[in-house]
C-alpha cells in the first residue's frame, strides 16, 4: 500500500522531491535513492516521520525494529512518536551480548542480520522500518528474526518502495507500506 493511495496526502510531493537519485551507485546500473537530501529539509523529514506516526500510533505497536543503518535514521523518531521500544537490527558483530542471526541473500553471496536475545517478548506487535525496499531480502530476514521470538510483525514500512516490486518481494505475505515510489 502506498500512502499516495489514501487521497494523495499533500505532504508526499515534497518528500518525494527531496529524495535524490544518484545513478550508478554503488555500481553501474543501480539508480540509488538517496534519502540524505530529505534529511536536509527539516519540514519534509518531519512530515515523513509524522506520516508513519499517524499510521501506527493507534495500532498497539510496542516495537519499532530498524534495519542498520538508514533504518536507524527513521525508526527511533517513529518509536518515540508512538511510545514504542526501538530495536536495532544490525550487521554481524556489532551488537554486544547474546544475539540471534538470520542469513539473507545478496546478489552475490549472503549477509547476516542480527538482533539481541531478550529484546522482544512473544506476542509483541512490531513494525520494521528501513529507508527503502528493493528485493525485500533484508526485510524478510528482519521478519524471520522477530518471528523467531514470536513477535507479531504487523507491517513493514519504508520511505521509498515500489508496489510493482511487491509482487516479487519476499515479504512472507506481510503488508508493506511505503510513502513514495522510486523515481525513474
Amino acid at each position: 500500500m502506498r500512502a499516495a493511495e489514501n487521497g494523495r496526502d499533500p505532504r508526499l510531493k515534497a518528500i518525494s522531491d527531496a529524495i535524490r537519485v544518484v545513478p550508478h551507485f554503488p555500481k553501474p546500473g543501480i539508480m540509488f535513492h538517496d534519502i540524505t537530501t530529505l534529511l536536509l529539509d527539516h519540514k519534509a523529514f518531519k512530515d515523513t516521520v509524522d506520516l508513519f506516526v499517524e499510521r501506527y500510533r493507534d495500532m498497539g505497536i510496542s516495537i519499532v525494529a530498524g534495519i542498520e543503518a538508514r533504518g536507524f535514521i527513521f525508526g527511533p523518531s517513529i518509536a518515540l512518536g508512538i511510545g514504542a521500544k526501538f530495536i536495532p537490527l544490525r550487521k554481524p558483530g556489532k551488537l554486544p551480548g547474546r544475539v540471534i542471526s538470520e542469513p539473507y541473500e545478496l546478489e552475490y553471496g549472503t549477509d547476516q542480520l542480527e538482533m539481541h536475545v531478550g529484546a522482544v517478548q512473544p506476542g509483541e506487535r512490531t513494525i520494521i522500518i528501513d529507508d527503502l525496499v528493493a528485493t525485500g531480502g533484508t526485510l524478510s530476514a528482519a521478519i524471520r528474526l522477530l518471528e523467531r521470538f514470536q513477535a507479531e510483525v504487523v507491517e513493514c514500512a519504508c520511505v521509498v518502495g515500489s508496489p510493482v516490486v511487491q509482487g516479487e518481494c519476499e515479504l512472507k505475505e506481510k503488508p508493506l507500506f511505503v510513502l513514495v515510489e522510486p523515481h525513474y
Binding site: V22, D41, A69, I73, F86
Partner: protein
C-alpha cells in the same frame, strides 16, 4: 559539562538503563550498550529531551550524527530543534560527492565521510554520538564540519569515558554528556 553533574532527576533512570557488556568487542573492553536504553520508551524520551532542552533556541542549523549509533540519537534531536540532520559515515556508504577525514585508531586508521553540499559555511553544528571514548571519531567529525566552514557549537554524547580524556581532543570545543562511566 554533564547532566550527571547537574543531577537532573531523569539522569538516574537513563544511567541504569545502559548495560555494560564485558570483553566486547575484545577482551578488556567494558562496552557501554545503549540498546537497553532504547527498550525503555520513557528513558529514551528523557535522553532526547535533555539534549533538546539544551539546544533549542541556540540556533543550531545542523545536527551531524556519527554512524551508526549517532543515527539513533541525532535525528530526533534535529527534528525537535528544527535543524537538518547530516549523517557522517564510514567510507563508500554515501553516494555522490563526499569529503573524507582520516583518523587514527588504536591499531591502524579509519575514515569518516560527509556529503559535499550538505553543510554550508556559517551553519551552526552539533555533533552527536552515543559515546565519547578517546575522542578520535568526534575530532574527525568536527574537522569535516569545520573544513566546509561550519561552526561546531558543541559535541553531545549520551556517555563519556572520562578516563580516556577524549574531552581534551576536541580543539577546545565544549562537550556535553548525560552520564559518565569510569
Amino acid at each position: 559539562m554533564s547532566a550527571y553533574k547537574d543531577k537532573d532527576p531523569r539522569i538516574h533512570g537513563i544511567k541504569t538503563k545502559i548495560r555494560v557488556v564485558p570483553n566486547f568487542p575484545k577482551p578488556g573492553i567494558m562496552f557501554q550498550d545503549i540498546t537497553t536504553l532504547l527498550l525503555d520508551p520513557q528513558a529514551f524520551r528523557d535522553t532526547i529531551d535533555l539534549f533538546v532542552e539544551r539546544y533549542k533556541g541556540k540556533n543550531i542549523s545542523v545536527v551531524a550524527g556519527i554512524e551508526a549509533r549517532g543515527f539513533i540519537f541525532g535525528p530526533p534531536i534535529a527534528l525537535a530543534i528544527g535543524a537538518k540532520f547530516v549523517p557522517l559515515r564510514k567510507p563508500k556508504k554515501l553516494p555522490g560527492e563526499v569529503i573524507s577525514e582520516e583518523y587514527v585508531l588504536e591499531y591502524g586508521r579509519d575514515c569518516l565521510q560527509m556529503h559535499v553540499g550538505a553543510v554550508e559555511p556559517g551553519d551552526r553544528a552539533l555533533v552527536v554520538d552515543d559515546l565519547i571514548a578517546t575522542g578520535g571519531t568526534l575530532c574527525a567529525a568536527m574537522n569535516l564540519l569545520e573544513r566546509v566552514g561550519a561552526q561546531v557549537v558543541e559535541c553531545a554524547c549520551v556517555i563519556e569515558l572520562p578516563d580516556l580524556k577524549g574531552r581534551e581532543r576536541l580543539h577546545g570545543k565544549p562537550l556535553y554528556v548525560l552520564v559518565e562511566s569510569h
